[in-house]
Symmetry: none
Amino acid sequence: MEPRKQPAQARSAETVAAIVEAAARILEDKGFRGYNTNDVAARAGVSIGSLYQYFPNKDAITKALLRRETEPLSAALEQAGDAPSLAEGLQRFVQAAVAHQLRRPVLARLLDFEEARLPLQAEVGALGDVGAKALARLLARHGAGRGAAARTASRDLFAIARGMIDAAGERGETDARDLEARVTAAMSGYLDRMKIIAL
Amino acid sequence: MEPRKQPAQARSAETVAAIVEAAARILEDKGFRGYNTNDVAARAGVSIGSLYQYFPNKDAITKALLRRETEPLSAALEQAGDAPSLAEGLQRFVQAAVAHQLRRPVLARLLDFEEARLPLQAEVGALGDVGAKALARLLARHGAGRGAAARTASRDLFAIARGMIDAAGERGETDARDLEARVTAAMSGYLDRMKIIAL
Amino acid sequence: MEPRKQPAQARSAETVAAIVEAAARILEDKGFRGYNTNDVAARAGVSIGSLYQYFPNKDAITKALLRRETEPLSAALEQAGDAPSLAEGLQRFVQAAVAHQLRRPVLARLLDFEEARLPLQAEVGALGDVGAKALARLLARHGAGRGAAARTASRDLFAIARGMIDAAGERGETDARDLEARVTAAMSGYLDRMKIIAL
Amino acid sequence: MEPRKQPAQARSAETVAAIVEAAARILEDKGFRGYNTNDVAARAGVSIGSLYQYFPNKDAITKALLRRETEPLSAALEQAGDAPSLAEGLQRFVQAAVAHQLRRPVLARLLDFEEARLPLQAEVGALGDVGAKALARLLARHGAGRGAAARTASRDLFAIARGMIDAAGERGETDARDLEARVTAAMSGYLDRMKIIAL
DNA sequence: GATGAATGAGGATTCATTCAT
DNA sequence: TATGAATGAATCCTCATTCAT
């Protein structure tokens, strides 16, 4: 399921990138039903044989795409966990997540679903885990508790954010600022109500 | 795409029900990858020919299943919109949603995803629309505003609930009470923060 | 690797037989290089889908053909082991083997080779084992020893017969009587020389 | 189908040899199913492009391997035909054949089978022909007849030897002396019984 | 109505071979 | 001469759907 060949030459790297992007486009245009390797290859301007030089099977392509889309967000979420204040951490967190989702909402939603089926080996944790962990760290670092309760809270916060942002993307919202404000409100409202911390 | 024939006789109704339940089981066991009409028919104890007597195509089965799972919840959500108080309305709303998701979490998640692809004609609104509308009515009836802002708020509330409940189901949570409390907290926290209404 | 569906109706049985025979013909005509499921189906006058209704994969077809060709011979060889005299046993043994090989020599050779690659589960022993065992029984029952030496001898006898008959088939010999006489001579000559028994 | 270029330089000869040996190894390890040019090239430590510089196509590699394996044996068998006595001739013949087969039994068996499919042009006769001819010469030179009967006998003798030695190789026998004795016994027993000559 | 045999388009993957660098 | 990226025909197999019985 891993990339078959490390693209050694520049040309190869381009080919790999083209395949992954083609996969993204096809998923956006036609969904999983229309997502097949022949079309991906064609859209990438590459022969089907070349596609299989770089990816051992279809899932490997999806996985590569998943990584490409997920990793920058993961990194941003992790950084948010190290913010100087809780408020700023949440803000960064939400900003990153919103920016990610509004960039390619259809794709984000499809990959989000597919993530469950594709066992990304340990190397890349599921997005949900990464996000929840970053939030847990943020809470812990700013006196909002540790332990099981804090873990549940951080998972809930992540779920709130994901649910709202996902729905907004699906609805076609484009105003990032507004969405960020609402998501942040929901998250701090939750913290408030759960008496975890008052913001 | 609609059921091909209204089951006139009791036996037919049983057959239809068996097919739909078989579809549910297969989706739960093997996901979309293993979901095919031949297996559904076999699991239902029915010939593939009979299956196609009752359903014109595969999507029609999925749709029937979607309806079967969704309609009771839709009805419950609508009722919650008519509750005597906002607090009670939210509570009923969350109770219904949590009960639904925890009953068959895997199935709920898969259908939730598939809902986007299957154009249920107007007759049955998407669950999200129904839920958001019920919440909007609830807010309106208890002095929490109307108009665009309220519509956005109700959609957000629905998204918060769906996000949290979905994640809980995926994680295998089983304590409905606890989950309900957290979801309610998140929703009222949001209303609070957004200055829509103080609960 | 086993037949997928027991042909319940007469029509099905015919289809299965047609597929197996088509496989035989294609192997004879074009060898393993030209042996592919699409051509087998076409030659059987059946759609590729039907072929896969009865056989889960290509090897299963080869296996069915192997059984069809091998089982009668196996049975005949086993019977030869129970002959009233050593001479008659050898004669029957050789007759059966020669008749088998001269019937469809090309096919016999190809399947003989393929047998090594296809692990027929215990049910059907490899032809070589069956034949050698029958010969061992024959020798034992007529005072030609048991134990390791007899086992080696029976394997050698089988190998002699197979080698000669195979080569004759490949060369296009058609005179069964003559071939039988030579093979019998070789086998009894071996027994003689090895001082196992004098015929 | 012939080697594309005569290796003029030493390095080329090494490359060719490496390719042929790689082919041998892969055939031994994975059989025909796993025998493909890309893997052969990789195993030979050569690029696929280089492989095709020396061999015009895959069959040419197999053929070169066949020659490499077959020629020394052919030569030895021919020499056996010139032995001073029939007994010594048979002995040399069997020794050479046994030594060949026990060296790389799996490879020998595979190539034996493939020989039928690859039309080695006249230059190199099929092993069977060479062996049978050597035996025919041996018989003729020692008063055991000429003509059709002797030709048949020599073919039978070769078939006996091949059959026994092949089976022994497949079974994993390693005791060359013992095997030689049994094969010689079978051959002389045959000559005896067929009244061709008494040894 | 029910059955299940049959269909065949569609899709994943392999691998011999070429050719630009 | 060597390289290895690229090619695409060939092949295995699946599955939604039809239709004769």
